[in-house]
Structure formats: structure tokens, C-alpha cells
Symmetry: C2
């Protein structure tokens, strides 16, 4: 078929039209079946992709095809060439990083968003996109029992961003501008940003993008004694030191559920300290914020009324596919003051002029925006608050189960108390055979003498590598206070108890193999 250089006269009725509706239906069904089959067979693939760098380059031609290819051929290539290069975040044996939780409702929401394909920069460009976002952000805010000052109903309000990185960047720019309006724009070099050494790298990156000096980003030390939570006294000390040096403290990022260990920074005393020095407090609840729809987790948000903004990633642990970061602010005007643009072609429409509407372009970095609220709305309605709590609790229960399994084997320890659905554990040095501890061990072929902490880290690193190379499960690591720990994060939608038992068996077997027991 080579109609390539001829211009179709009537594209929608031509079968080569990019939106021929018969083809849309036929191919759409095929894609649904393809994805359902993928989920059905997902356990047949190694969880962590086992391909080598550059594997795909030689499997595809050097140039785009001149002529069209049938969808059957393309889907065949997806199965044959793409799937082996996927690390299967949707596998029930995926326990790495944090979850990226799929659901039918989230998927359908994404389909509708893509189908309408509106560019919802302002209210007028699709009123439903803006207004549904207003509504679901109120719903979710209420489910989390956020103080009313974070809701539109209380003159605050919520917005859906892509990721936490964007949410932090936006709030940090608002905080920066608020402070510079007081101390003068030439003093940007004096502004200081605070987090702990457990704060997500998003803070450092956002600060850098916003023009804050790298030397003015504080990553305050945490210790195992506070389970790696940021101590308000350490914060106060850091702030005072900076003030003494003539610097200007500006922004604190507190975390509910850190990446390494799901540590929870104590909001109330941290906000007290930060507020007494005029800092903007952002609460990064990317992962654990989702759990706060369950009453038993809401105490982790105690004191949030002292913060200025809070974000969580519904795409992590709320069945809403990537990307969907929910950000609430007490004072959205501080944000829009920094991020508003008013090009002529978006001005002078009666809605904007009436000031009755939200124009979300002024709440984010980008102008264009997808209809992301659709997927969150579908998740909330399709499952309902009750079931959503149950789903999250089932993950927490499975993490408890794993924790119990770890605790029952003396060769392992749970490193920090489990707060949510993630267990931090490690094999203890004891797991190294008597022979090694007496005669030293071989690392990369070199015999070295025995050092307990070094060996423990090496051991856990080897253990994790060996587990992941098996393809049976996927776990990731962190290093806290010099300890190499293995993280077991439950949250993939398809995970059941049996996958947790299997994962534990895999961990044990690999330790057996490594230590020669």
C-alpha cells in the first residue's frame, strides 16, 4: 500500500485516516486485550529486566518506516522486543522503590483524558477539566482530613501536578519570591533551603533550578535513634547558624514517609520552629500521604495546619497511573503571583475577567496540561473510600506479614520500625559463615580481613544483587547511617499473600547460597 505522497481528500472516511473510527475500535479492543494478557502472564517474566545496555538498537531499523505497518506487526514487536526490556512495576513480585499502582479505573480515566485530549491551560479551554480538578482535590483533601485552610472552601486549594519534583519547584519558587519581595531581588544568594539527609533529591534539584546556591541547601543529619526523622532542635540550630552567618532561611521540606525508610518528620514541632523564623513549610507526603485516607494513619499529619503546602503522589499508592501528584496550598495566590503569565491570546475572556474561576496554568510550570483529574475521579468513584482504605490496609497487612517472617529468622533484622507498607531489613553479620569470620572473605577475588560492618554491607549488597538477578522478585536498597539495607515495599496492585511468602523464600534461599549454609 503506497498512497504515501497523495493527499487523502476525506481523511476520516479513509481507512488510512489517523482517526478512522472502525480502526479505532478494532485496534482499541486489541490493545485492551494485549494489556489484559500482559497482566495475566506477567509472572512469567523476570521482574527486573535482564537485557544488556543497547539491546534494542539492533532490533529496530535505523530510520522510521516510509510506509505504514499494521498494528498486528507492531504489537508483535512490543511483545517480542519491548516486554523483555521492561522492569515490571506491575508484577505482583515487584517490591522495589515505591509502588506505581495500576487499576482499571485509573486506566479508564487515562483513556478518557487521552480521548478528549483537551489542553486545559485555563478554565475556558475546557471548563470541565478545571472544575473536576477543583472537586476531586476537595474530595481527597477531605478524605485526608486536611485542615479546611488547604481547601478551596477555606480559601486554599488543590492542583494536580505531574510529580513531586514539580510540586516542590513551584512552591519553592513561590516561597523564594515572597522572601525576595521583602529582602530585595539581589539577595537570592542568601536564601537557605532546609531538609534532612533523608529528604528526597527533588528538593536539592528544585532549589538548584530556582537559582538557590548549592551551598545553601541544608541536609540536616538524622540518626537511627529517631528512626531517621528530622529533629526540630537540629533544624533550629541550623537556622540559627545560618542567620548568624547573614543568610536568610526560606524553605523547609518536611517528609511524611521518606524514600529510604518511610521515616516521618514530626510536623508540629518542625512547623513551630520554621514558622517562628518565617520559613515556608512544604510537606512531601509523596508515598505515605496516600495512607492517610485511613483514620489510623492520620495522626502522621498532626500539625499540618502549620505548613504552607502538602503534596502526595496518587500515582504511587492510590491506583492512579503515573503521573498524578496532588498539591494543596493554604495560599494559592502566593503561587499564582510567581507563576502567572497572561499572554494576549489567553486574556479577555469573561470567565477569567469575572475572577470566578481557577486558571491552573498559573499554578504550575507548564502552560499546557492534561485532564488528569479524570483518572483520580474514576478511582474515587469506582472503588469508593471504603474499598480504597481496604486496599491500602491489605498492603500494610502484607508488609506486616513480611516483617514477621524477617523477625522469625535470626539471620536477619528489621532495621527501623515499619510505619506503612514498607519493611527495611538486612542480613546480619552473623549470617556470614564461621569460616569467613575466622579467615576473612574474598571480595572480587581478593581476600580481605573480616570487618563486621563492612562485611554486613557487602553481604547485603551481594544478597540483593543475587535476588534481583534471579528475576523472581525485585527489591531495592538504601544506605542509612552507613548501613546498607534492603527495602521491601508492598503496593503493586496484583500482589497477594502468596507473593510475599515466595519473596521471603527467595530471600532466604539466596542468603543460604551466598553464605554457603
Amino acid at each position: 500500500m503506497n498512497t504515501a505522497e497523495s493527499v487523502p481528500k476525506n481523511p476520516s472516511s479513509c481507512s488510512m485516516s489517523p482517526l478512522n473510527l472502525e480502526e479505532f475500535r478494532r485496534q482499541g479492543y486489541m490493545a485492551i486485550d494485549f494489556i489484559a494478557d500482559y497482566y495475566q502472564n506477567i509472572e512469567k517474566h523476570p521482574v527486573l529486566s535482564q537485557v544488556e545496555p543497547g539491546y534494542l538498537k539492533n532490533l529496530f531499523p535505523k530510520s522510521a518506516p516510509y510506509s505504514p505497518e499494521p498494528i498486528e506487526t507492531i504489537l508483535h514487536d512490543v511483545q517480542k522486543h519491548i516486554v523483555p526490556g521492561i522492569t515490571h512495576w506491575q508484577s505482583p513480585s515487584y517490591f522495589g522503590y515505591f509502588p506505581s499502582s495500576a487499576s482499571t479505573a485509573g486506566f479508564l480515566g487515562e483513556m478518557l483524558c487521552t480521548g478528549f485530549n483537551v489542553v486545559g491551560f485555563d478554565w475556558m479551554s475546557s471548563p470541565a477539566a478545571t472544575e473536576l480538578e477543583n472537586i476531586v482535590m476537595e474530595w481527597l483533601g477531605e478524605m485526608l482530613t486536611l485542615p479546611k485552610c488547604f481547601l478551596f472552601a477555606g480559601n486554599g486549594g488543590g492542583v494536580i501536578q505531574g510529580t513531586t519534583c514539580e510540586a516542590i519547584l513551584c512552591t519553592l519558587v513561590a516561597a523564594r519570591d515572597r522572601m525576595l519581595s521583602q529582602i530585595g531581588k539581589d539577595n537570592i544568594g542568601k536564601l537557605v533551603v532546609y531538609g534532612s539527609n533523608q529528604t528526597h533529591s527533588a528538593l536539592q534539584k528544585a532549589a538548584h533550578v530556582a537559582g538557590i546556591h548549592k551551598t545553601n541547601c541544608r541536609a540536616i543529619e538524622t540518626t537511627k535513634s529517631t528512626s531517621f526523622a528530622l529533629s526540630p532542635e537540629s533544624l533550629r540550630l541550623a537556622i540559627c547558624l545560618d542567620i548568624e552567618s547573614g543568610l536568610v532561611p526560606m524553605f523547609l521540606c518536611a517528609t511524611i514517609g521518606t524514600t529510604a525508610t518511610t521515616a516521618v518528620d514530626p510536623l508540629r514541632p518542625l512547623c513551630d520552629v520554621a514558622n517562628s523564623y518565617g520559613l515556608w513549610v512544604h510537606v512531601d507526603a509523596a508515598y505515605a500521604g496516600n495512607a492517610c485516607i485511613c483514620p489510623e494513619f492520620q495522626h502522621f499529619l498532626d500539625g499540618v495546619e502549620g505548613a504552607h503546602s502538602l503534596s502526595l503522589n496518587a500515582h504511587k499508592w492510590f491506583f492512579t497511573t503515573l503521573d498524578c501528584c496532588c498539591l494543596w496550598l493554604k495560599d494559592p495566590k502566593a503561587l499564582t503571583k510567581s507563576l502567572s503569565t497572561n499572554p494576549e491570546y489567553l486574556m479577555s475572556n469573561h470567565a477569567t475577567n469575572s475572577e470566578q474561576v481557577v486558571n491552573y496554568k498559573d499554578w504550575q510550570i507548564a502552560l499546557s496540561r492534561r485532564f488528569r483529574s479524570m483518572k483520580l475521579w474514576l478511582v474515587l468513584r469506582s472503588y469508593g473510600v471504603g474499598n480504597l482504605r481496604s486496599f491500602l490496609r491489605s498492603h500494610v497487612k502484607m508488609a506486616q506479614l513480611f516483617e514477621d517472617l524477617v523477625a522469625s529468622d535470626k539471620r536477619f533484622e528489621v532495621v527501623v520500625p515499619r510505619n506503612f507498607a514498607m519493611v527495611c531489613f538486612r542480613a546480619l553479620p552473623l549470617a556470614i559463615s564461621k569460616d569467613v569470620s575466622e579467615n576473612g572473605m574474598a571480595v572480587n577475588g581478593q581476600k580481605i580481613s573480616y570487618d563486621q560492618e563492612y562485611c554486613s554491607n557487602q553481604l547485603n549488597q551481594e544478597l540483593l544483587k543475587s535476588i534481583n538477578a534471579s528475576g523472581h522478585v525485585y527489591l531495592t536498597h538504601a544506605v542509612v547511617a552507613g548501613l546498607y539495607i534492603i527495602r521491601f515495599a508492598v503496593g503493586a496492585t496484583l500482589t497477594e499473600d502468596r507473593h510475599v511468602f515466595t519473596a521471603w523464600k527467595v530471600v532466604q534461599e539466596h542468603l543460604d547460597a551466598i553464605t554457603g549454609m
Copy 2:
């Protein structure tokens, strides 16, 4: 059904599971049908939504439901409550802003991306996501005949961002840091950013986010005589004036196809000027870059080898749903130097250590990223280069047709020469009835005397308002050199010749009604 507070033991086999596969298939088919029906009936809706601010609030409950609701109910609500609040960017009679072009292939790509739902921050997190992005960016770069220095094959490389705003922010931060490394980090207040008064507001916003003073953003005047293209001499003058004032010129954003009139800045002489003063040149080809896959448009990119980076939005006019901004750079290391983060949990994997792979997290603001290359790859393979050129040419032809219609009616003028598939026109003051020009006209009930330019702008503003209120078509406006113009951008996938004829008839009829002719 109230299983709400009970924890399902085996979620995937429970029909309430968020990923019950029978439900996934059943609901997936339903959503395909819903969207196909939406496209089929799209002409029945007013193109511009006619709802009033706040319309949705009272149609939905104040809180999220506690119990699940069936998909049938939800889709019914989408049809009844959401669709009326949509401005139908996919309507064949949508000629506003720039297109947001849907396609079956783009839709399927988004489905697969959502289905796999991987978080592709680094190579290891899903090698296929990174490597397919490498491949399609080479393919598309080659189709545009970009110089090899922008491709991986020539030590440059491409990345898919969300939007142009992000692409400009990233390159601007890279340029900023490159310059600050020479002049010292405390001199950020001296950096100057250049564009024309036609440059997208994304530049101003990105510069502000990156900490560049608002007073250091130059929007250089353009005139009708150069069709609103940036003049290299004006740029040189502005740069020299800034240098004389002790400022440091740093970044130029040149545009291929401006938002207001699709003006094309002359790349070669602009790059010559910019390069002689050490500026980073970014080429924003958001809309018109897509056309450059056709040989007859490639001359607009002449001289691009003098630029540092170039971006285009495949989600605008390349059948790849929002969002998909393609960015190529000559020196990706300048970007990654600014945007790299290396948290422990993403370090020490053999692929990264081998330096054989790209870790796209270091090429963008966010850490997490969707598998966006999937949709671009499906579009390229499903249609092929030949058809893609045909599709774009059919839009250009339809714009030519509209241009001819405008030119054939003496009451109108085409304001600037048409470069791509967008026509800028206006009703001439002559269209105002003899009565008005002799006796003045009534504006908002007040009688005012006749002033030719003012009246022409008022007339076109009234005309556009009246056209859009009819719901038959949607067009948007711009103001250039004091002239209020109406923009007619062809590019919606479903548009055919007949829609262009109808649109023109609507324009004429509304002018008739307004001018009382």
C-alpha cells in the same frame, strides 16, 4: 454492596480488585466504545463549551462516595455532565490556538504506556523505555534533517519532555549554569535572556523560575514589515546595549512558527549574532517544527546548526496526544551537569556505572517519567513517513483553501502571509456599515465616535465572540502591532474540506449580522 471495611484476602481474584482482569477487559471495551462514539457524534456539541463558571459543583456530591459506583453510572455522568463542559479540541470545527491532534496510534501508544505504567527514571528502571526513546528521537531528528550534531550518533541527543515550557526551562538552566561557571554564581542578577515580543510566554516564565530578573528579559520589538520575525540587527543592538550596561547576555529563544502568527525567526543570522556573543540559542519550533518532516518546509530550519537546542511539540501537530515535547541538544552534558541527581538508591547499578546508557532523569526537571516514546513510536510506524507528510500537507491545503476564501471577500484581509496551516485574518474597517462610520457606533450601549483602527479591533473582537458563542466553530485571536486578528488554525485530525467551507460561511454570516448588511 458494603464490603468496605473488610480486607479482601485475594485481591486479584476478587471482582472488587482494582485489577480484576475480566473487569479490565469489559470496562476497557466500554471505554473504547465511549470514546469512538464521542468522536462519531462530536459535531453535535458546541465546539466551545457554553457552560457557566461553577456549573459542575452542584452536579456532584460534596464528598467522595464511600461505596463503589458502577462504571455504567460513571460513564453516564461523563456524558451528561462532563462532555458539556468540554471545549472540543478534537472537533473537526476546532480551529483555535494550535491543534492538539489525536490519532488511533497515539491513543494506543498512550494505552500501552499506561498499561506498563513503568517509572522510567533511569535505564535500569525499564531499559526499553529509555532505549525506545533514544531510537525514536533519532528517527524523528533524521526525518527533520537535523544536523547530526543534534543526534546521539553525533554526540548530541534527544529527550521527550512534557511541554515546551519544561524544555525551555531545562535548557535555560543549563545555559545559566554554563555562564555562571564563568562569571561566578553571585552574578545571576546580570544574566539577560532574549526573545522577540512574539516569543511564547514560556520563555519569560522559565527565566523567572530560574531566578533571572524580570527586568533582564528582553522582548525585542518586531514589525509587520518582517511579518513579526525577530531581526538579527535588533538582537545585536539589544545585546550591545546590555553589555554596555554591564549585563551578561546569556540565552536567545528563536521561534519557528510563533503563537500569534506563525512567524519564523531567521535562524542563521540570529545564531551568527548570538554565537558571536556566546549566547545559548534555543529554537522553539513547538507547532511548526512538525511540518519540517516535509522537504518543502525544511528551509525554515536553515542555520539550525548554529543553535544549541531545538524543541517541537509532537502533541500539537504530530498525532501524538498531549504531552510529548521532543527536545534535541548538541551537548546533552551541559544539561545533565545542571540536572543530575544521584541519590544512593539509584546509584551503583552496572549499567549506569558502565556509562553505556542514558539516564533521562538527568535530562529533565522531574525524576519520574512516563514511557512517552511508546506513542511517538506507534505514530511513526502505524502511519509511516509518507502518510505523515500527507496528513500535514492536507492541513496546509485546507488552510490555503480558507486563505483563498478570505481573499475572495473584500470585507476581509489576510493580515500576514501564511507559512503553515494557520491563517491570520480580520474584517476590514470597511465592513462597518456606512451608517456607523458616519454616525459613530454603540459599544456596550454607549455611543462613541468613529475611529478606524479602534473600530476595526472592536469589530473583530465582536465578530469572534459572536462566532464562538454560536458553537459552530471555534477560532481564537491575537493582537499584533495593535491589530486584533483572528486566527484560523487547521490541524484537528477529523477536519475535512467541508468543515473549512462551513467555517467560512459562519464567519461571513456573523459579519453580516454584526454589520447589519
